[in-house]
Amino acid sequence: MATEEAAGGLAFHPMDQFLVRPLFGGTEIHWYTPTNVTLWMGLTVLAIVFVLVIGSRGRAIVPSRMQSVAELTFGMVHKMLEDITGKDGLKYFPYVMTLFCFIVFANFLGLLPTAFATTSHIAVTAVLAVMVFLGVTILGFVKNGAHFLGLFWVSSAPLALRPVLAVIEIISYFVRPVSHSIRLAGNVMAGHAVIKVFAGFAALAAIAPVSILAITAMYGLEVLVALIQAYVFTILTCVYLKDALHPGH
């Protein structure tokens, strides 16, 4: 569909930006091939190092701007984790912080023109979500044993309803990684694709101003979405972690 030339010379290729390409030519993509995924993930690492490591280099009591950004990020994730999981969840802070930093920096870098948005790929977000899902499930059984299954047995409901609720709870538990990953990838992909579609309209001089205005507005929305989706992903991770640590409702 994306490849069909529309009437009037308009060409929409909204999905081309998500293609994984080898960096140094060739068409084979082995698991070790350096691709644009490699490049943009590497840039993500560099950006994180720049803000969180180099930015906090001064260790100043009165922080510089970059150090303030690093401290705000740290403080936000730390407070989120502590509010939701309590003190005993703070052990997993580096992991949660890793997720948040990766997603937020990958989202923002993906918004640069001609960039490749790594978080728009299901493969990437699914790995992130499955890691959270497996980690949380294993942690729940290790910490609470069989008591963890109490998560599915809603003891506050009437007895007759409990088996039905248990089925629903189990289904919703296993849907978690799906919605967790698709939410992030879907939001990023949809935003980028919509911008690309508007950009395709800009080829017509008559509607180009409208199209450019629309791109600008969408871009602003996407900047917001990039941050909010990273926040939502992290906060849901915290919620799942809380379920594993304190399975009682």
Binding site: M15, T27, E28, I29, T35, V37, M97, T98, H121, V124
Partner: protein
């Protein structure tokens, strides 16, 4: 995974030109690039590498450092507040001790004034008493001398009167004996 790459290789071989997985002859995406499974091992591998690198950078360097800075700042702020509290207490203490010293000094001054007044009073009393005594002594002495003078004067009057009487009697040509004159004069002076 090996089978997927073989499949990809097969697709590539089938096409006239070597193509990227998931693209058509023009290099555009066919369907969703997100669902081209040949690229999954690659993406997952690089994602895991990235996550491990980020995890180690954060947990080894960035997080301890930022956490340390935040803890330092919180410690410094509470320290400063405690110091300020302490200084405030000290200032209050200093004010209280100043007020106490002031009150002490006032009391001391009052005591000194009272003592000085009492001393002066005592001196004054002593001086007054001495002066009184002196005056009394002088008065007594004067009294004595006045009495003496008075007695002397009386004596002198008697003598003068006797002598005068004797002279007068002699001038009249009469002789009078001294005893009679004296008795007469004495009677007259007394009378």
């Amino acid at each position: 995974m090996a089978t997927t790459t073989q499949e990809a290789a097969g697709h590539a071989a089938d096409a006239a030109n070597a193509m990227l997985p998931g693209t058509d002859a023009h290099g555009s995406a066919v369907g969703m690039p997100q669902l081209v499974f040949e690229t999954f091992p690659n993406q997952i591998f690089w994602l895991l590498v990235t996550l491990v690198v980020i995890y180690f950078v954060l947990s080894r360097i960035a997080l301890p450092r930022i956490g340390g800075v935040l803890a330092d700042r919180a410690g410094k702020i509470s320290n400063d507040i405690a110091t300020a509290e302490e200084l405030k207490l000290k200032a209050k203490e200093a004010e209280a001790s100043y007020l106490r010293a002031l009150a002490d000094a006032k009391a001391e001054a009052g005591r000194i004034i009272a003592a000085a007044r009492a001393e002066i009073q005592a001196d004054l009393d002593a001086a007054t008493a001495r002066a009184d005594a002196e005056i009394a002594a002088k008065t007594a002495e004067s009294e004595v001398r006045i009495n003496e003078i008075r007695a002397g004067a009386l004596e002198a009057v008697n003598v003068v009167a006797r002598d005068t009487a004797a002279e007068i009697v002699a001038a009249f040509g009469a002789r009078a004996d001294a005893g009679a004159i004296e008795a007469a004069v004495a009677a007259r002076v007394k009378g």
